[in-house]
Symmetry: D2
Subunit: 299 residues, 4 copies
Amino acid sequence: MSARTIAFIGLGVMGAPMAANLVRAGFDVVGYNRTAARTDALVAAGGRAAPSAAEAAEGADAVITMLPDSPDVESVVLGEGKVLDRMRPGSLLIDMSTIRPDVARALALAGAEAGVRVLDAPVSGGEQGAVEAKLSIMVGGEEDAFDAARPVLDALGATVVHVGPAGAGQTVKAANQLIVAGVIELVSEALVFLDAHGVDRGSAVRVLAGGLAGSAVLDRKAPSMLARDFDPGFRVDLHHKDLGIVTAAAREAGVAIPMGALAASLMASLRAQGFGDLDHSALLLQVERLSGREGETSN
Amino acid sequence: MSARTIAFIGLGVMGAPMAANLVRAGFDVVGYNRTAARTDALVAAGGRAAPSAAEAAEGADAVITMLPDSPDVESVVLGEGKVLDRMRPGSLLIDMSTIRPDVARALALAGAEAGVRVLDAPVSGGEQGAVEAKLSIMVGGEEDAFDAARPVLDALGATVVHVGPAGAGQTVKAANQLIVAGVIELVSEALVFLDAHGVDRGSAVRVLAGGLAGSAVLDRKAPSMLARDFDPGFRVDLHHKDLGIVTAAAREAGVAIPMGALAASLMASLRAQGFGDLDHSALLLQVERLSGREGETSN
Amino acid sequence: MSARTIAFIGLGVMGAPMAANLVRAGFDVVGYNRTAARTDALVAAGGRAAPSAAEAAEGADAVITMLPDSPDVESVVLGEGKVLDRMRPGSLLIDMSTIRPDVARALALAGAEAGVRVLDAPVSGGEQGAVEAKLSIMVGGEEDAFDAARPVLDALGATVVHVGPAGAGQTVKAANQLIVAGVIELVSEALVFLDAHGVDRGSAVRVLAGGLAGSAVLDRKAPSMLARDFDPGFRVDLHHKDLGIVTAAAREAGVAIPMGALAASLMASLRAQGFGDLDHSALLLQVERLSGREGETSN
Amino acid sequence: MSARTIAFIGLGVMGAPMAANLVRAGFDVVGYNRTAARTDALVAAGGRAAPSAAEAAEGADAVITMLPDSPDVESVVLGEGKVLDRMRPGSLLIDMSTIRPDVARALALAGAEAGVRVLDAPVSGGEQGAVEAKLSIMVGGEEDAFDAARPVLDALGATVVHVGPAGAGQTVKAANQLIVAGVIELVSEALVFLDAHGVDRGSAVRVLAGGLAGSAVLDRKAPSMLARDFDPGFRVDLHHKDLGIVTAAAREAGVAIPMGALAASLMASLRAQGFGDLDHSALLLQVERLSGREGETSN
């Protein structure tokens, strides 16, 4: 069986375009969002709105949650009269939020008791990836659940990979956030370094992108960084939360992540300086500040 | 005028395939290498061999140097009876080695006095990029010298960009080496993190590569890292040398590069542990060691 | 009222000599330890043994807890039939363990409800400080509770300071652990640096100790480090736990502690390499390993 | 023979009180300073002034240099008609500046050729230590030269230690500067941490100073840091220079100094932000800035 009716809970910056893509792919999508007005666009696109998460979940073949943090997912999914309680046996719960791996494993256990197949399926690729259905989706859970969810996930992303058992998706997402934060910081340091030496940064970015220093961050983020446009995108506050997951998981596993720890420390500091609402690429501002070059950059 | 006869000095891992590509593109190439046997392949490919760097340079339209470090370039190029002394006015000296930006500027000054047009044109892309003529080439120097060198450089690389005046190429290369070292370390930390959490790393790399964590390092280096193949490639010793250039140039310009400094420190430590002859992706070994996971990795 | 009968719960490396000092100072000390044999020395010294923590607490003027971690203190103190439940109104509960500041505050609240005055009073100074009654004691809680506890604390330490309300003692202890870990690492780096340059380290330590680089770590730890004696003392495992408290508290308060974060990362790595049972001064071993100098040191 | 007539070159913040102490100890002191007015105090105290460094050195039993950096010492000491050229065989040259160990070794070689016995004897202890003749002096050079210099050095410091051959004094000084910078940063992080948690910092410093976290920095620097008094003392610019020596020497010897590298990076950043003229304890300002707490601190 592949899912035909999908409940989509959490219609934010990422969730809204994802739900719209599911409608476009032919699914019957029932959306719910705490701020009710956000369902309007879904309805206009051909979906339906539900008055609560639990009611959206009622009778759905699959429920997708796309929420900010671990406690949000737990409070919507678990407990009497909540989402899991309303789902029918054999249906799929796909949590696409970025949460703690241990919480993902707890959800999978709760699902197993209720006869519901649970996947953790966090994404990478940002708002643009969500809009263009080009997300990278890292999926943890049982093989057969992954197979069943495949048509749904393929409507949302370009790279959909089953990476292991319950929680594995979140673990890979944690690794993703570690790398992304680090690469943004490295690119920021390189940009300030180049500027301080009077090099034209547009040209430099072009040539750096073509060699071993090339990265998605350089391709997609450097232009807005050079334009000093730090509209999110992905907010510093959220990346800070994610790096808390990364460092805790590394600590627990006894893994040395010196560069990850530094990235976490720099992101925390950026937030403490009042930049929590900017895009995470605002790490550039901190490098400038630490270099005594605030507002001096000119190219 | 565009260059027809090219002296190529330094036929190592990078220089040899680059010289061959120039022959293939129709240039008359006269090669020199300290270890003479290395010219054999060039001759077999249709080039010529010279008994000394100075004799190779005699009468050439352009001289290319591709040598390990700043003192090597200085000793070959400058001084009585050396390369610069033999070059005819109006010809091009293109140093494609990775050296200190201030040495590159000094070469440009010496060239100007001799009527020779000097470019610093370091490359990124590794042996594979050299073989396939797909290098990224970052060029510093006068605009007209860049234009004159363009046909030569286009025969060697896929991304050829003029980034500024003399020394600017080396500055961009320094930024390149900062980013590359940092990304290798980040990927290493992510791989050990994933392994410690029991995630299949091949799958994880596939999905990470598709999102904002994607990079040339992940594409080109992660497979050999997972296969524990650390044959160079680009040696730790050389990257260590380059990071010395980076940190000195950052220090001189008053630029804060906390992550670059950490990368330099980790690369220096890797070398001190006796891994100087391995590929720079051997940073993975150090993360494993720091995590008490030497030789434990299994996938 | 000043305390005459004192229940002492936790007779480990630190607790045993502290309890003995209280006997020596004339207090009536009733000890309890999970491993019962550890009360023998206390009885021999003139104290008494109780069969459970709760029975030790019964009727005491003051209860002191000296336990490994937050959960240990919570499980002994809180709950029906536990220590707090047995204490009489107006008596003192002095927790001298190193635990999380928020747990210390929770204990103080629970005590207030039961009419018991609670202090958090962690210590610094190690086994030697405990034996010689020369501990530094950093006390959080109400002023009058501090005054009442003063005679008890003065029998245990040379520097007894009231640093603020409930939890403040633990906050200062966290700062203490941040500094101590960092200074041990700095001294380790200096010692390996000196050795690598062929300097006699005994002489160097002597002169360093006399200037602005002087510290208690240099005075008390450097000699055993040079002798390669890493018998605890204070175990890496425990310091690792404490640095978890430090980094969490810094993160929560938005305070940048780049060096503290690095220290935490290095201590975690030392533990991951299998050195958790050594004294925290074993950070020296890691610096040697990172410098490719394992077992090479000679002076 | 012990030295009776001493030439003292460099009468700055440190040199002036040191020269005065030598007069007080009964030596015949001939001073020279580039800014001539600085010799007035020496003359008033009973010393003599010379019109040039070379003339001061003429006929002296010992020459002491106390200058800012390696090039200053080289330019005053080496070359025709310079200090070394004027010194008589068998006399002592004691360089008390903080310079590069390799430069110290070069001076010793030059001295040996001229029959002059050279010591590198940098100091720790600051202006106060200089005034009170309580400096720590770390001496490199031949044993017999050290013995001959002993009476001079004892008039300047409380801890005078021969640490090894030529250059060893500077190596120990480098280790000293590594530790001092690191401890100031650790204390800064602890102070901001305590403030953010509402702890009274004066009390906290008192109790921290009594335990294993105790240090000369906490004793001598914390009070002025809490008073936000960053008058030098020892300037950020100079400590930045010294940390350049430390990191270069560590790099050359293949020693991993992760915390030293971080300290160097933080000091460089402090300088880049325009604080080069403040006392090095101004690292506190940077931690506050990184924590978004500029000017918020209240106790």
